[in-house]
Symmetry: C2
Subunit: 255 residues, 2 copies
């Protein structure tokens, strides 16, 4: 008897198996709902009633409640007593396919305005100099900005630009314009390729405070080296996006 | 006098301005060092001594110490008394350019093994059915896996596959193989395009425990719908990567 139970335990349980923890079933429901909240017809609309979700997912009422609690904890939905549950996500799509500045990519979602926290010349470390292909001792323009969409902080951007392009940049309106657009105008040629690295990191206390986010909030961290169309590297950026405000979407090919 | 000060305050401070908070200067140093820890010649090696970093970054000793503290808090470096500071990151690169399974993409870094937490048939919700282009009531195979590299948990994957491909898949070795590779063999044709959405989220307590990560740890969340080369959608996945174990890299073009 005990033997048979042992053997059974080695077989992974099926979706409806009562041995399966409710938290696993709740995650499964939450992931599908999350997609609908972010992309689907639920966006800024009402979620179906609990009873309907129970039917839709073939899940217990407690599982559905736990799934909704997960999405509430992320700030994606809200429950109003007597009214029901609705999506509240202020989460905006940033394309992964084409290299676009934030104002360009979010044009249809509202107005991007940048708070320029500091600008200035500095002698970069060897690592930064080598990525921008500068000679030792050559200075760069450094720019630090908080970027807001409709007044909400989206990201904190640290930017290094070679001096010949960076100094004319500082004379431009950095509050209303993407650096990408200004760089192309100043360089007189389009940007080409960028190498990007994405990570998820917990915000340190100071970065969290700067972005009006809770301490430890998940950030999407983007490091990006952008080249002009002639291959010259001209823009090295370290960008912390608030994880609760940005999604990145694109497509990938197998071949 | 007061007027002049007010006017001055409106000008962003330069990099060496003493009014600039040390936390801002520390972040600036940490971001460049972080890149070197992850990609550069420091990987699994020693960091330069504090005095050398002070020279290299033109920063104060306190700023350099605060920068190192930020990287330590993320688990990227460690200080050993009497020995110095060295990189300890177990952070692996996942390509953003070509669609690859985890074992394929991390081949040079070690062995990927999957713990199959559950498998089974289920009737999907309308959202899942519609994305996989299934008729109402058609069942799918559901697979839940923890994926480990050299024994370390990297991700928790929730996968939905149409029944005609999913059932033969369950007869295969899911512990040692990527689903991508198995699907191509079963379908008799290569995979084609995938639509992906990336987010940074804080781990809920149960997902954190499942991935051996601290509660609230930053996760890179990937939702991916993969098609066969003939355009048929065959694999819908919801993947939680540990933020401290994975980076995603690729390139983007402006044109």
């Amino acid at each position: 008897m005990t033997r048979r139970d042992d053997t059974r335990t080695a077989v992974p349980p099926g979706p409806a198996d009562p041995r399966r923890p409710r938290a696993d079933r709740a995650r499964q429901v939450a992931d599908v709902l999350r997609r609908q909240v972010l992309h689907g017809d639920l966006r800024s609309g009402a979620l179906p009633a609990e009873a309907e979700l129970v039917r839709e997912f073939g899940a217990s009422r407690n599982t559905v409640r736990e799934a909704l609690a997960l999405l509430r904890a992320e700030g994606l939905i809200e429950r109003c007593p007597g009214v029901g549950t609705h999506a509240v996500a202020e989460k905006y799509p940033h394309g992964l396919e084409r290299l676009l500045g934030l104002a360009e990519t979010l044009r249809e979602h509202g107005e991007v305005a940048n708070e320029v926290r500091m600008t200035g010349l500095l002698t970069p470390s060897r690592e930064v100099a080598s990525r921008l292909r500068l000679r030792a001792g050559e200075q760069v323009v450094y720019i630090e900005r908080i970027r807001r969409l409709n007044g909400l902080p989206l990201s904190l951007d640290l930017t290094y630009i070679p001096r010949d392009l960076g100094e004319p940049l500082l004379a431009e309106d950095l509050v209303r314009n993407d650096i990408f657009v200004l760089l192309e105008r100043i360089a007189g040629r389009p940007l080409g390729r960028a190498e990007v690295t994405l990570e998820a990191v917990n915000a340190d206390p100071h970065s969290a405070a700067t972005l009006d986010a809770p301490r430890g909030a998940a950030l999407l961290m983007l490091e990006r080296l952008t080249h002009l169309s002639d291959g010259r590297p001209v823009d090295l950026e370290f960008i912390r996006f608030r994880g609760d405000r940005i999604t990145m979407s694109g497509s990938m090919n197998r071949a």
